[in-house]
Symmetry: C2
Subunit: 199 residues, 2 copies
């Protein structure tokens, strides 16, 4: 999902990736205050080229969010399903924290105002894919008795809420927690919130 777009020539794909990286840099530096001309300058391409890739700056924001949601989903899905449920959960939390620390300072400026479950129910594909990466881990924890039987949708919502990029950036910057500690503490809070005994 986070990979190259089908049908794009390789140099076009490279330009697109460079522009999306520039979206992340500019957002992290100064929020959503720039337009396509400034984005083009940062990406080192002509303004007309930026307009060929994105209809508007909002389109560029959306594509940036799509790319990072895809990346996060890929990282979560690559946790080996043969691991024990608890090890899968811990690894997912760690990868999530790493990802969110990377693009969090950019993404906090343009996050969706819609609820996570609402987006899943509306059939929003990247949100659905993220849900589909988390849900089997929660089910596995329940099946192995590490969590009591419960509303899995609510459980995934609690997980995603606690790993909100704004929370991760806040804990890193306000409390100076290193990523590993942050992933461990947040992960334990999630497991406890869901009725598990987080040790």
């Amino acid at each position: 999902m986070a990979g190259p777009r089908p049908g794009l020539r390789r140099d076009t794909q490279e330009t697109r990736d460079r522009l999306l990286a520039a979206v992340g840099e500019l957002l992290a530096e100064s929020g959503p205050t720039f337009g396509l001309p400034e984005l083009a300058r940062r990406g080192g391409v002509a303004t007309a080229t930026a307009y060929r890739h994105f209809e508007s700056i909002h389109d560029a924001h959306r594509e940036f969010l799509l790319q990072l949601t895809g990346r996060l989903t890929d990282r979560l899905q690559s946790v080996p399903p043969t691991w024990t449920p608890r090890r899968r959960f811990d690894a997912a939390c760690e990868r999530w924290a790493e990802q969110a620390a990377d693009w969090g300072p950019a993404a906090v400026h343009i996050r969706s105002w819609r609820g996570f479950l609402e987006r899943v129910h509306l059939g929003d594909e990247p949100t659905g894919a993220l849900y589909a990466a988390l849900e089997p881990i929660v089910r596995d924890l329940i099946e192995h008795g590490e969590l009591p039987d419960q509303d899995v949708e609510y459980a995934v919502l609690v997980w995603i809420t606690m790993f909100d990029e704004r929370v991760i950036v806040d804990l890193r910057e306000s409390k100076g927690w290193p990523l590993q500690r942050l992933a461990r503490v947040l992960g334990r809070s999630v497991l406890s919130a869901l009725g598990g005994t987080a040790t």
Copy 2:
């Protein structure tokens, strides 16, 4: 804090309140797509009057957020401190859910991108006042042995993260949960996350 502004004449204050109510209506209906002229029309005043109250539409958004944060803080602070810590916590969760259900559909469009702790540390007054309303309840729960001793700042962050207006609106609309259930379930998740035995 959520009361009238000192130094404003009564009719000026009424106009201001009407305009802030109109900000909430327009945001809930269609997000931050309107300007001061449209806000003035909705509030039933001349455009020039709206400009006398707000420098820009962003200023109107900010004042709206200030007003609702103040209201929330007032409601939380009015929970009697003589109640048992657990009763105080439950009442605070219920009032919070009521408040967030009211202005949540508007506020999700304009929430701060800054982390909660960052805003507290920066000396942002309304965020500090909200923190000051929650912190004694957490300390009380710890002193009475309902929660283990812990980092109170992190505990308040968990509480505020789970009661995010986007989560409350999502649970109401996507799962159809009534407010009381929602407050109870989220409150239990918070207590469990913090190591309490939520019964």
